[in-house]
């Protein structure tokens, strides 16, 4: 913002997009509080029960900011595994985020580097999922509105996760298991991706990745997840290509049967 010598007229427009996106994103992030608060509390409680002091618990939750890998790390340390093994296992759980990063690149890659360095910190499941759903839904969104939306989704989720951890560390689990909030992450992720299943290719990607994830769940350290994701992506892209080629063949066949319009249509 400081180094650019953009004309004054450009500044308000970028700020307006950022603000509008942030407001929409903040609303889109609210439903994820049903996940972030109870799981933050659960992590805080489990961490203190494992003998972690408050400072270590809060440092871990703020530096790592990745629930599943934090639980994996704690469990391995509790089982007496060496620190480097706990590190490796917890990092493997986070490899899917490289796919999120790649998926966000076409949308946010045009942002200045220092913005991207900041955005990367917030690249967690919920922020990624809600943002990419909106970007695919509204292709006309500008860069700054996309950035604003992304940060807006993170705005309620990050304080809720960190605050939830603090509450859990201080007062314990808090939320009774009878509320079955253990299932809230699964339901919210399904709710995000289900509306995106609007083509045969998307359905193929989903079906292949689910089958692969279940079949590969025997692999250690959640390594089946990135592999299943890659297989699903390949299935989706392959199906899209096949459907496009088939449509093109049909169009060519139609054009051949209709000599008059073939001259105009052939180039496309």
């Amino acid at each position: 913002m400081t180094a650019t010598d953009a004309p004054d007229s450009a500044r308000p427009r970028h700020d307006a997009g950022l603000r509008r996106g942030f407001r929409d994103g903040g609303l889109a992030g609210l439903p994820f509080l049903v996940v972030a608060i109870p799981f933050g509390m659960l992590f805080g409680a489990v961490a203190t029960e494992s003998g972690l002091d408050l400072l270590s618990t809060m440092a871990m939750t703020s530096i790592v900011i990745a629930g599943a890998s934090q639980f994996a790390f704690l469990q391995l340390m509790n089982d007496g595994a060496p620190a480097f093994a706990a590190f490796g296992a917890a990092l493997a759980v986070n490899l899917r985020m490289a796919m999120y990063s790649a998926s966000l690149a076409p949308h946010l890659g045009a942002a200045p580097l220092r913005w991207r360095l900041m955005l990367a910190y917030f690249n967690v499941d919920q922020v990624y999922a809600a943002s990419i759903a909106r970007y695919q839904d509204r292709p006309a969104m500008g860069l700054w509105e996309k950035i604003g939306f992304y940060l807006g989704v993170a705005a309620p989720i990050f304080p809720a996760w960190i605050g939830g951890t603090l509450a859990g560390a201080l007062v314990g689990r808090g939320i009774p298991p009878e509320w079955s909030l253990d299932f809230a992450p699964a339901v919210t992720f399904i709710a995000v991706f289900a509306p995106m299943l609007r083509s045969l290719a998307a359905l193929a990607a989903c079906a292949v990745s689910v089958a692969a994830a279940l079949a590969l769940s025997v692999l250690p350290w959640s390594l089946g997840l990135p592999i299943a994701g890659a297989l699903g992506m390949a299935a989706g892209a392959g199906a899209e290509l096949w459907l496009e080629r088939r449509a093109a063949r049909h169009a060519a066949a139609d054009a051949a049967g209709d000599e008059g319009s073939a001259v105009d249509g052939a180039g496309a």
């Binding site: 999120y100 990367a120 919210t188």
Partner: protein, 110 residues
């Protein structure tokens, strides 16, 4: 306890945070403003519908709350969220359908 408060713990935590950050940054940092080739964009379009279902499938089929045993209530709740999400295209409606089915079936079967 000893493993959880020594310098080893802090080194591991900082290393995990840094490595996780670099994974999050990876493509976003490297690709920058350059335009990706069409084949890459084609693959990347399917990241959400491939990775999110892969993340969820084991949670639905082998939920931790039942010790990894398949739970018909959670299967039905997942199916309800999927169906309503795909048809209504509304996140809150899908979350409501999923958790609502879960609570209703738990109440009936209890």
């Amino acid at each position: 306890m000893s493993a959880l408060d020594g310098p080893q713990f802090w080194i591991a935590i900082v290393a995990l945070g840094l490595a996780t950050y670099l994974v999050r940054l990876s493509f976003l940092g490297l690709v920058g403003g350059s335009t990706l080739p069409p084949w890459a964009l084609r693959l990347l379009r399917y990241v959400p519908v491939a990775v999110l279902p892969a993340l969820v499938a084991p949670m639905v089929v082998w939920p931790a709350a039942s010790g990894g045993e398949t739970d018909p209530v959670r299967l039905a709740a997942g199916a309800a969220a999927l169906l309503v999400g795909a048809l209504a295209r509304n996140l809150l409606a899908a979350v409501g359908a999923g958790m609502g089915t879960l609570y209703a079936m738990q109440a009936v079967l209890a």
